[in-house]
């Protein structure tokens, strides 16, 4: 990896995080005038996590205030918000947002305390938002199915119900980790959180057994079930399993439910690398090409590549960590990162598929124009949505970990 370039990308990533936080506290998913000029709790949470790793604690706090103040009456955090914190969703429930907000709030709380936790931790902030935390946990548990002890969702990290409707791994790990974070915060405040802890333990156990295939030696993507209250779920009209590979199957370690050197994680990541590393462009794809939703052309995603780099850093595999992070550094354009990268051929194939199937939305016209106008097009590459803030936050996190560990 080119360390000088990596340092510049890190510095610019910090700049990008700072410049894409609205004065009200929300982090845009992509800058105003581009594809996602709204605040998506999933992206927003990772941006906050990026801030924490970069030491931007005031920005992290402001981001948390924004999202915590925007909670819906039932305790849900929406799919997306406008800059004033009004719900601006256009998709169904994405419950991983609840887990993520709690998870990063816990990280913020931990980080404010550091080595002098009792004296330094921002306890007042957690106390101020305790009711919000309670409602967020309650909302997660409202969506728990008592037959399998997992959280039901319609969308998850890919916003793709065809493969995520049911008991999906990323959403479950995020929610479980979120409850654990709430438990930790509650304990510091002296609250009785034993019931939450018990529930988190039950969900974790279910993730590690029902969402893991011993014969495949891999976590699986989803138990597909239409209705959260289906009982028995075996009679649900969707009842099936999604066993395909997905970068999100790394979630149990990403959300710290189990360690990276756990054999379940090791073998899952091996499978992810084998099946999703892009042999033509490099980088990590998010799911198999045949899932058929490859807006802008099938290709590797910068933030998933960074996420998996964390695994190799954790298990001391510097070569692989360099391979992953080095790819991100090499693909940055003027030290900015896109959502994902494709080739002209794959881009045109996607366009043909969607045009023929008549599923090309009007909103994709701008995406198409932007990709073709981007300077990388002349190099044969399709840069889709650049910059996206999420990969910059993930790069900050993984590069910081890399630097701390290996240098």
């Amino acid at each position: 990896m080119n360390r000088i370039e990596a340092e510049k990308l890190y510095e610019n990533s910090v700049r990008i995080l700072k410049s894409n936080q609205h004065e009200n506290g929300g982090f845009y998913a992509s800058p105003p005038g581009t594809r996602y000029p709204f605040i998506y709790p999933r992206d927003h949470s990772i941006s906050i996590l990026g801030c924490i790793h970069a030491g931007l604690m005031a920005e992290a706090r402001k981001g948390l205030e924004f999202v915590l103040n925007s909670q819906k009456p039932l305790g849900e955090f929406s799919q997306r918000y406008d800059v004033d914190g009004n719900d601006a969703s256009y998709k169904d429930l994405q419950i991983d947002g609840n887990g993520l907000v709690l998870f990063v709030l816990g990280k913020y709380f931990q980080a404010t305390g550091g080595s002098f936790f009792k004296e330094m931790a921002d306890t007042a902030f957690i106390e101020r938002y305790w009711e919000t935390i309670e409602k967020a946990v309650s909302f997660i548990l409202l969506n728990k199915n008592e037959e399998v002890d997992l959280i039901h969702t319609i969308n998850s990290i890919h916003e793709y119900p065809a493969y995520e409707h049911g008991f999906e791994i990323y959403a479950n790990c995020a929610c479980c980790a979120g409850i654990y974070a709430a438990v930790s915060m509650g304990k510091v405040l002296g609250k009785n959180v034993s019931e939450w802890e018990q529930q988190a333990d039950i969900i974790k156990e279910s993730i590690l057994t029902r969402l893991y295939s011993p014969r495949r030696r891999s976590f699986i993507k989803c138990i597909r079930v239409k209705d959260k209250n289906s009982k028995p779920i075996g009679y649900d009209p969707f009842a099936s399993t999604v066993l395909d590979i997905d970068a999100a199957e790394y979630a149990p370690a990403y959300f710290e439910l189990i360690k990276d050197n756990d054999v379940k994680v090791m073998t899952t990541v091996k499978r992810i690398h084998k099946l999703l590393w892009d042999n033509e462009i490099g980088g990590l794809n998010r799911y198999p090409e045949y899932w058929g939703r490859n807006n802008g052309g099938y290709g590797p995603w910068c933030h998933f590549t960074c996420e998996l780099a964390n695994h190799y850093i954790e298990i001391d595999d510097q070569d692989k960590a360099e391979m992953y992070l080095g790819w991100v550094v090499d693909m940055a354009h003027n030290y900015t990162l896109p959502e994902h990268i494709s080739t002209i051929e794959r881009f045109e194939l996607w366009l043909e598929d969607y045009t023929n199937a008549k599923i090309l939305r009007d909103s994709k016209i701008k995406l198409i124009d932007d990709v073709r106008m981007h300077p990388k097009w002349k190099d044969g590459l399709a840069y889709v949505t650049i910059p996206l803030i999420w990969p910059h936050a993930e790069f900050i996190i993984s590069y910081k970990k890399y630097s701390d560990k290996f240098h």
């Binding site: 819906k72 009456p73 009004n86 719900d87 256009y90 909103s363």
Partner: protein, 175 residues
């Protein structure tokens, strides 16, 4: 086709027809509005759908499939027309006609009360500038809302080519 597991939307629409027969269109309108407002309060402030500056629009038609399927099975009930006509009667008699929906079907009453209540919770007003029927065969405009929003009909007509409902978000405190 009805199966027990998917009969709820059809049952609700039959209920609307029965309610008009029993209590008349005005009572039914009020009932639908109350449902919309109640659900909006549970969901909280917000503006569902796509957004371009202060224009909010819905690229898909809420209840569109259910209404279409219902009409395919039962035909178009006269009671639905009673509701739509009563709504326009109320609008014409109102001194704030811009607050009414550009109605293309009966469930627009529920949707409008839900959407405007959520906007109100966000401290805003929502003007329904134009709508397209679930199958796209006709469009309706609220002329007074267009005037109040200072928007040309042609602009909304163009937006309705790729959507079913177009709203203007107005923040009284920011005007």
């Amino acid at each position: 086709m009805i199966r027990l597991e998917n009969m709820f939307p059809q049952a609700f629409l039959v209920g609307v027809v029965k309610m008009v027969d029993k209590d008349g269109p005005l009572e039914t309108i009020r009932w639908l509005q109350e449902i919309g407002e109640e659900l909006a309060t549970l969901e909280g402030p917000g503006f569902e759908g796509a957004r371009e500056n202060s224009i909010n629009y819905l690229p898909i038609c809420p209840f569109g499939s259910e209404i279409t399927e219902f009409i395919e099975i039962y035909g178009y009930p006269a009671e639905f027309n009673d509701i739509v006509n009563k709504m326009y009667e109320l609008k014409n008699a109102s001194d704030k006609p811009w607050k009414y929906p550009a109605l293309t079907h009966v469930m627009g009453v529920l949707q409008h009360s839900y959407s405007t209540k959520r906007a109100a919770l966000a401290g805003a007003e929502l003007y329904n500038l134009g709508s397209k029927s679930p199958k796209g065969e006709f469009k309706q405009y609220n002329e007074e809302a267009l005037e109040k929003a200072g928007m040309a009909k042609e602009v909304i007509e163009e937006l309705l080519e790729r959507s079913f409902y177009v709203y203007k978000i107005v923040h009284p405190d920011k005007e």
